[in-house]
């Protein structure tokens, strides 16, 4: 699984972008998106997913169930 951003709730504040250890987050069409193939759920870097910890709008960075669980290499 990877994380995804619910774009309708994203304020485009950009707080999550620099915090992602995998550079998985970028701006697209006025909101921010997570590239699922780059997201490691922060495994190997931090205890908490950084995008979730910093995002000012609750339940905006959420698990994307359509992706398989990330496995540490």
């Amino acid at each position: 699984m990877a994380f995804k951003i619910i774009t309708s709730q994203c304020t485009a504040c950009s707080a999550c972008e620099p915090e992602c250890p995998n550079n998985a987050i970028r701006e697209k069409d006025g909101t921010f998106i997570i590239k699922p193939e780059k997201c490691t759920e922060c495994l190997g870097y931090f205890d908490d997913p950084q995008c979730v910890a910093v995002c000012p709008v609750d339940d905006t960075c959420v698990i994307d169930n359509s992706y398989p669980r990330y496995v540490e290499a």
Binding site: C13, S14, A15, D47, D48, V54
Partner: protein, 519 residues
């Protein structure tokens, strides 16, 4: 982001000296003029002769420090910093940082390149623009690359523009070195508490060391970082102002403690702002019905802190991309689209010449007031009244009642006139004719005043004001505000003595809820 700056010894002699200097600056109130070369001359002996000229040079033309300079010089903000690293209960992050702007306002976000172009365009058009601030829409120091890139571009293109920034303080200690490097003129920290017990009711969480920290622990860390940041700024010789939001029932009494704590750490100004809270802002306080203070409660708290240090009462919580003098907002003239098309010629010489003219104007304002004061000092009365003034700047009564977006409030007594705040009102007159239903709003906003000074006023609003017990005064049109105020007070005293009018306490007034300029 991981490296923490080392902490200098804040108890050094250097820090002590700076404290003394700042204290002198803080005590030196009201006088705005100074001659060239840092030799201060207020038109009289009130000049701060023993003040370090370097500090005086920094503050004399600063619309954020000097209420008087605020009438003559302009500041602007650019919204380059959207991210924030904490959550405040009076903020909804769909909008701009509520610490620096009014809640419910959205500013146009700019890249550092767009922002510096905009600053140069404004500075070339409005020569009074002397200060550039970065205050949001989030926390400038949660966006260090964007903030410092903007400073870098402006620092190189227009070195005469003073730079300032505002922060919640959480990452301030990490950036004091860089702030010094760009010669940042002053930093504003929003400090709402010095006790985590109080803080936990204001801040639900902070983002700290890659974790979301909540509750009393969050407030404790924020408090420690704010105090450390303030001490480091003082030790580095950077002027620091503190903003506090007054939240009745949560930190209103506590702010007296905050005032002491920040003063002892070298803060040079303390600005207490009212909480602005309405359900439509979608903030925690807006939704749970937390009210803001009334005009009287705010003034009482500001008065009780005044003995402690210089209070700043002219902060108007303008939006993060505001441009202009006093209540004026010319930001629509400088949209990104327009700025990108402009042919910008940065005219440093022309700006200097203009600013010299402004100095002459300011000198005249101060002298006129002093001349008027001479026979008032002999009067004996403990009467105090408030008046409201409609002005567009330059220290004169020069705005029509119907065009005023805000009123400046002065307190008059035998000691003279003292600026005590401003009240925002909706535009009473839109497109040349008054809208009947907004007039009561204006009256409520200035209900604690005995008179309103205007350049011009129509017959209808004149009658309504009189009916509400507020004297509409247009005989001082285009005259100096403070000189006219003193004249008016002398007449008022005479009339009270002769029994022509009966002095009665006025009621309280409303503080407008909502954005200063609707987004």
């Amino acid at each position: 982001m991981d490296n923490q700056a080392s902490v200098p010894n804040t108890g050094s002699d250097q820090g002590q000296n700076l404290n003394q200097i700042l204290q002198q600056v803080a005590e030196h109130k009201g006088c705005g003029t100074s001659s060239e070369g840092g030799k201060a001359s207020c038109g009289s002996s009130t000049a701060p002769e023993d003040m370090d000229p370097a500090v005086w040079e920094k503050v004399k033309n600063h619309p954020c420090y000097s209420e008087e300079a605020h009438h003559h010089y302009a500041r602007m903000h650019v919204a380059v910093a959207p991210a924030c690293n904490i959550q405040c209960n009076y903020c909804n992050r769909k909008y701009d940082c509520a610490n620096e702007s009014r809640p419910g306002v959205v500013s146009e976000k700019l890249t550092p390149e767009q922002a510096s172009r905009k600053v140069l365009a404004v500075a070339s058009t409005i020569p009074q623009m002397t200060v550039l601030g970065i205050a949001g829409p989030g926390d400038p120091l949660a966006n260090p690359e964007k903030t410092f890139k903007t400073f870098d571009l402006i620092f190189n293109a227009a070195p005469d523009i003073k730079l300032c920034l505002s922060t919640n303080g959480l990452s301030l200690p990490d950036h004091v070195e860089t702030i010094k490097k760009y010669n940042v003129d002053h930093v504003t920290i929003t400090i709402n508490m010095v006790d985590p017990e109080v803080g936990q009711h204001i801040y639900p969480w902070i983002y700290w060391n890659h974790k979301r920290v909540t509750g009393i622990e969050a407030a404790r860390i924020l408090h420690e970082r704010q105090m450390l940041g303030l001490e480091m700024l003082t030790a580095a010789g950077i002027l620091c102002k503190v903003n506090s939001v007054m939240i009745p029932g949560i930190n209103d009494k506590h702010l007296v403690e905050v005032n002491k704590a920040v003063k002892s750490r070298g803060a040079f100004l303390h600005n207490i702002m009212p909480l602005i809270s309405a359900p439509e802002h979608g903030t925690v306080f807006g939704l749970n019905g937390q009210r803001g203070p009334t005009a009287q409660e705010l003034k009482a708290l500001q008065d009780s802190c005044e003995g402690e240090m210089n209070m700043m009462r002219h902060c108007r919580q303008c939006r993060a991309d505001a441009v202009g003098l006093l209540g004026e907002d010319r930001s629509s003239e400088f949209s990104t689209e327009k700025v990108m098309e402009m042919d910008i010629q940065y005219d440093a010489e022309g700006r200097k010449a203009y600013q010299e003219k402004v100095e002459v104007e300011r000198q005249a304002t101060v002298l006129a007031k002093q001349a008027e004061m001479t026979d008032l000092e002999a009067e004996f009365s403990d009467l105090k009244v408030l008046i409201a003034v409609a002005t567009k700047g330059h220290g004169r009564v020069n705005e029509h009642f119907g065009h005023a977006q805000e009123f400046q409030i002065y307190e008059l007594s035998t000691k003279g006139s003292k600026f005590v705040g401003h009240r925002r009102v909706d535009l009473y007159c839109q497109g040349g004719y008054g809208e009947e239903d907004t007039l009561p709003t204006v009256i409520r906003a200035i209900n604690d005043c005995v008179a309103v000074f205007v350049a011009k006023i129509g017959g209808c609003p004149k009658d309504s004001l009189k009916a509400a017990g507020i004297d509409p005064v247009d005989k001082y049109a285009h005259e100096f505000i403070e000189q006219s105020a003193v004249k008016y007070f002398k007449e008022y005293l005479t009339k009270v003595k002769s029994g022509e009018i009966v002095h009665a306490e006025r009621g309280d007034a409303d503080i407008r809820q909502g954005a200063y300029i609707a987004a």
